[in-house]
Symmetry: C2
């Protein structure tokens, strides 16, 4: 019998970034303390669940007082491995790629788009954000050299799986996939999906 390491449920992990985001807004309001009740009001997640989620990782609050906002933020950043900034590789320099590079929301939240690839010769060599656009052919070399572990796929669906395979063989361990396909990846690789149509279709079910 091997030891059964108590794993924190993935659904709990998925809520931690929401807690962190809410805490960041509270900190901007120059607040010092908060409570599971206040976080609940802001996030629509029950106070009991917030306390239970946090309890998987330690004791971060004080009875009668609540949570110190900066302290809890720091702890969540540590738990989520956001103490240092992750360099991100972006594949796809189309409209979406441009929007992502010019998006200010990565800064201060743990990520920086450090290198961009595309396969279009018209785009290769041009500057995009802090990076030049490189040929996808150069992906394995450059990604390995830079030691990049986090990626964003913003290419058409037809190219996405090939790109994912190349990213993985280049050492990438996390993929944020904007292409509307499910990727098949080995267990050590994390994948998250963003497909706006999936979200819209989920809502229209509830419309008369």
């Amino acid at each position: 019998m091997t030891s059964t390491t108590k794993v924190v449920p993935d659904i709990v992990i998925g809520r931690l970034p929401l807690y962190l985001r809410a805490l960041t807004y509270l900190a901007e309001e120059s607040r010092e303390l908060t409570s599971s009740q206040e976080l609940s009001d802001r996030l629509g997640i029950s106070p009991a669940q917030i306390r239970k989620d946090l309890s998987h990782f330690g004791e971060f609050g004080k009875q009668g007082t609540g949570y110190n906002i900066l302290f809890l933020s720091q702890q969540l950043q540590r738990i989520l491995h956001l103490a240092e900034e992750w360099e991100v590789v972006l594949v796809g320099a189309g409209d979406l790629g441009h929007a992502l590079v010019h998006y200010g929301g990565f800064e201060g939240r743990g990520f920086r788009i450090a290198v961009v690839f595309d396969r279009d010769p018209q785009k290769i060599g041009k500057k995009l954000g802090e990076s030049e656009i490189f040929d996808v052919e150069a992906m394995p070399t450059i990604i390995k050299d830079m030691g990049i572990k986090v990626s964003i796929i913003a290419v058409p669906a037809s190219d996405a799986h090939t790109v994912a395979d190349t990213l993985i063989e280049s050492g990438v361990r996390a993929i944020l996939n904007y292409a509307p396909i499910t990727l098949s990846v080995p267990p050590h690789v994390q994948v998250q999906y963003i497909d706006p149509v999936i979200h819209l279709q989920r809502m229209t079910y509830y419309l008369a």
Copy 2:
């Protein structure tokens, strides 16, 4: 005692668009039939769960044979209210707004960005996609006139809640929110969120 209408769990509704997307790819391969096992292989959702999910809405397959791809697609489109195309209002004509308008992925999947708003006088009056960019001040009038029910928020976080409130008072019932804040909305309004950083932070937890 009021009658307890058996409600289909929201988590089930959330998977239906994935089934529909997979079926669309199968149809493009000119296939006629599929099975819960094949959908499982493509989606990473168990065959039992797929069958159970579908059983909430009727019997769409044949024992020993499986599911007719076009028939099941049609049924899912009907269930999700995608038989007709929804006109969508986009608020925010920045980089993200441009990317969304030029994104080809809405067509044929039930949505069309029919009107765009921004508050920047430099942008108002210019063309974006099939719409002119209108002043956000005109939102209530135009949205009510057009009878639009579905929206996308692509403005900075600081403006997002005001925009959401205006959308709701204009009759919108579904909001896809790209701003990194949780919205507080009445129960008859659906909200879905897209924040790439949340997805990235969820993955880095698993990276050494």
